[in-house]
C-alpha cells in the first residue's frame, strides 16, 4: 500500500505541483510520459511520489509524446487508471493518439500546461495547443489558477471514468502564470480525495482473459460513421455528469464550479469571454469599471471548453448588448474559436449582441488591465451606438500599426 502524505489545510503549491498531487491522490496506476516545458514538473512530481512510496503505480519513460500517449492508451485498454502531462509541441506530437484514445473510449487524464506552438519556437503560455485538441473527442476543462488545476484534475477522473461517459479528459492550465506561480492551495486529504474519486472500475479491460477483446479496429465507410456518431453523443451527453461531479465537489469542499463561469453577469450590458488566467484579470477590470467607470461589465468563461456549453452561453447572454471574445491563439485565417462558438450560439438566440473578436497574448504576451479596460470601453461604445465602432477582429498588444479585419 502507498504511504499517505501529511497534507496541510493550506499548502503553497504552483499549478504543476497541484496537478502532480492530484495524480498521486488519485493513485494513478500508469503514467507514461515524456518531458516538455512547462508541464514537466507534473510527471516529475508523480515520479518522485512513486519513488518515495506515496503511490502504487508504474512510471514509463518513453521516447516521445506520441509514445507517451500510446503507452497511456495501452495501459488504459489493459484496465488501469492512467494519466500523463504535456504542452505545445508535445501535445502536437500526441495529436494522432489523442483521437485513438477518445475513439476507444479510454478515460485517460491529460494535464495540459498550455504553451504556444512553433514557429517561432516559444515556451510561454498561449492557447494554441488547447485549441488544437478541440475536435479530438476529449472533454476539455480549463483552470484559471493553481487551486482550480488541482480541483479539476481530481474531478477529471470522476467525470471521465463515469460509466455513462468513459471518455478521456484534458485539464488545461496556463503555462508559467499558473503552472509555475506558487499560490495558496486548499487540498483535500489523501483519504477524502481518493474516496471522492473512488476505485477505478475497468470496462472491457484487455487483461480480463475470460473475455478476450481486440482494441483499435479498422472501420471503413460501412461502420466508421456510426462509431463516431456514438462517440459525439457520449461527449454531448457528458454534460449532466460533469454538472453532478461539480455539485458533489462543492458539497465536499465548498468550491463551486460551473460548465460556464459567469462573473457579474446578472445585469451586465457588456461582457468579455475568455479562457485561462485572463479570466481573473478581466474580473478585476469588470469590478473596477462597475465601481468607478459606470460600465456594467461582466466576464464569462467556459470552464468546460468541450463539450462546448452552447445552450448555457445563450442563456447567460440573453440580455447583453456587446460581447468581446478573447482568443489567445492565432486563428490562421479565420475568426477565433471562441468568437465562432459564441456567435454560433447567439445566432440561435432572440438577443443579437454585437460580438467582437480580440486576438491577444500570443506566445505569452501579457494582457494588461489597461488593455482590458480599453476593450470594455469599446464594447460600451458598441452597446450605446448599436453598431461596431471598430472592426470585428482586432489584435491587442501587438507592436506596429493597428491590425484589424472585417467591417
Amino acid at each position: 500500500m502507498a504511504e499517505k502524505m501529511d497534507i496541510q489545510k493550506t499548502e503553497v503549491w504552483d499549478g504543476n505541483f497541484a496537478a502532480a498531487h492530484a495524480l498521486r491522490q488519485a493513485q494513478v496506476d500508469v503514467v507514461a510520459a515524456y518531458p516538455i516545458t512547462p508541464s514537466t514538473p507534473i510527471v516529475e512530481g508523480y515520479a518522485q511520489f512513486l519513488a518515495d512510496g506515496y503511490v502504487d503505480g508504474e512510471f514509463v519513460m518513453v521516447e516521445s509524446e506520441h509514445a507517451a500517449m500510446s503507452g497511456c492508451v495501452g495501459a488504459a485498454a489493459s484496465g488501469g487508471r492512467v494519466a500523463t502531462a504535456t504542452s505545445s509541441q508535445g501535445f502536437a506530437l500526441m495529436a494522432e493518439v489523442l483521437y485513438q484514445a477518445s475513439g476507444m473510449r479510454l478515460p485517460i487524464i491529460l494535464t495540459v500546461v498550455n504553451r504556444a506552438l512553433a514557429s517561432p519556437l516559444n515556451v510561454r503560455g498561449d492557447h494554441s495547443d488547447m485549441y488544437l485538441g478541440r475536435d479530438s473527442g476529449w472533454i476539455q476543462m480549463d483552470a484559471f489558477n493553481a487551486q482550480e488545476a488541482y480541483d479539476l484534475t481530481l474531478m477529471a477522473f470522476k467525470i471521465g471514468e463515469d460509466k455513462a461517459v468513459r471518455l478521456p479528459v484534458m485539464v488545461h492550465q496556463d503555462g508559467f502564470i499558473t503552472s509555475h506561480t506558487a499560490q495558496n492551495i486548499n487540498p483535500m486529504t489523501d483519504d477524502d480525495a481518493y474516496a471522492f474519486i473512488g476505485k477505478y472500475e475497468p470496462v472491457n479491460e484487455m487483461l480480463d482473459f475470460s473475455k478476450p477483446v481486440t482494441y483499435g479496429a479498422q472501420t471503413e465507410e460501412d461502420w466508421h460513421f456510426e462509431h463516431k456518431a456514438k462517440q459525439h453523443k457520449a461527449i454531448i451527453d457528458s454534460r449532466p455528469v460533469i454538472d453532478k461531479v461539480f455539485e458533489d465537489f462543492e458539497k465536499k469542499t465548498g468550491r463551486k464550479y460551473s460548465r460556464v463561469e459567469s462573473y457579474m453577469m446578472e445585469d451586465a450590458d457588456v461582457a468579455i469571454v475568455a479562457l485561462g488566467t485572463s479570466v481573473e484579470t478581466a474580473r478585476l477590470v469588470a469590478k473596477d469599471l462597475r465601481e468607478n467607470g459606470g460600465i456594467k461589465a461582466g466576464v464569462v468563461a467556459p470552464r468546460v471548453f468541450r463539450p462546448f456549453p452552447f445552450d448555457n452561453i445563450r442563456d447567460i447572454f440573453a440580455n447583453v448588448k456587446a460581447i468581446a471574445c478573447l482568443d489567445r491563439s492565432s486563428p490562421g485565417g479565420a475568426l477565433g474559436a471562441l468568437y465562432n462558438e459564441v456567435v454560433g450560439a447567439m445566432y440561435t438566440s432572440d438577443n443579437k449582441p454585437l460580438v467582437t473578436n480580440y486576438i491577444y497574448g500570443l506566445g505569452g504576451r501579457d494582457l494588461t488591465l489597461d488593455a482590458i479596460k480599453k476593450i470594455y470601453t469599446e464594447l460600451q461604445e458598441n452597446a450605446n451606438s448599436g453598431k461596431h465602432s471598430g472592426k470585428i477582429q482586432q489584435f491587442v498588444g501587438v507592436r506596429g500599426p493597428q491590425l484589424e479585419f472585417f467591417d
Binding site: M104, L106, T219, E226, H227, K230
Partner: protein, 143 residues
C-alpha cells in the same frame, strides 16, 4: 436491425445503427466468458462473429496451396510457419488447409521438405482432383 446485403466483411452480418454499435469499437473474440480457450480446438470455441475466425478472406487469394497426403510426413513445418494459422493439424497429423483464411503466400510450400513436395501452388480455380493428378514425380539426386 437490417440484414446486410453483403455480409462478407468482419462483423457486418447485421448492420447496426449508431445507437447499437458497441462502445470503443471493440471486437470480442468469443461469445460470453471463456475458460482455458487455448486448450480447446478451434471448432470447439464459441467464436464471436467479430472474431476473424468466422469471416472468410478467401477472396484475397489468387493462387492456392494444394495438399497431397501421399507424400506428407507430418513434420509440422507448414503448421509452424503458416502466418495465418491456416494449416489444419490435429494430434500432430496434417489434415489440410483452411481455405477461408489462407491468403496464398506459399510459405507452406517453401518450407515443405518432402520429395516431391506435399504442398504445391495451383491456380485458385483449379480443382483439387486435377491438381493431384498433375503432381510431379520424385526428383532423382542427379537432377
Amino acid at each position: 436491425m437490417k440484414q446486410s446485403e453483403n455480409p462478407k466483411f468482419l462483423g457486418s452480418e447485421e448492420l447496426l445503427g449508431w445507437d447499437e454499435v458497441n462502445q470503443g469499437i471493440l471486437l470480442n473474440s468469443f461469445v460470453g466468458e471463456v475458460e482455458n480457450a487455448a486448450f480447446l480446438k478451434q471448432e470447439e470455441r464459441a467464436y464471436a462473429e467479430t472474431n476473424s475466425y468466422t469471416a472468410s478472406v478467401a477472396d484475397w487469394r489468387v493462387i492456392k496451396p494444394v495438399f497431397n497426403r501421399d507424400y506428407c510426413i507430418d513434420c509440422q513445418f507448414c503448421w509452424v510457419f503458416c502466418p495465418d494459422t491456416a494449416i489444419i493439424a490435429r494430434d500432430k497429423k496434417m489434415l489440410g488447409i483452411d481455405y477461408d483464411h489462407c491468403k496464398g503466400c506459399q510459405i507452406c510450400v517453401e518450407v515443405c521438405p518432402t520429395n516431391p513436395k506435399s504442398l504445391l501452388m495451383f491456380g485458385e480455380y483449379a480443382s483439387i482432383e486435377d491438381s493431384l493428378e498433375e503432381w510431379p514425380e520424385k526428383k532423382s539426386e542427379e537432377e
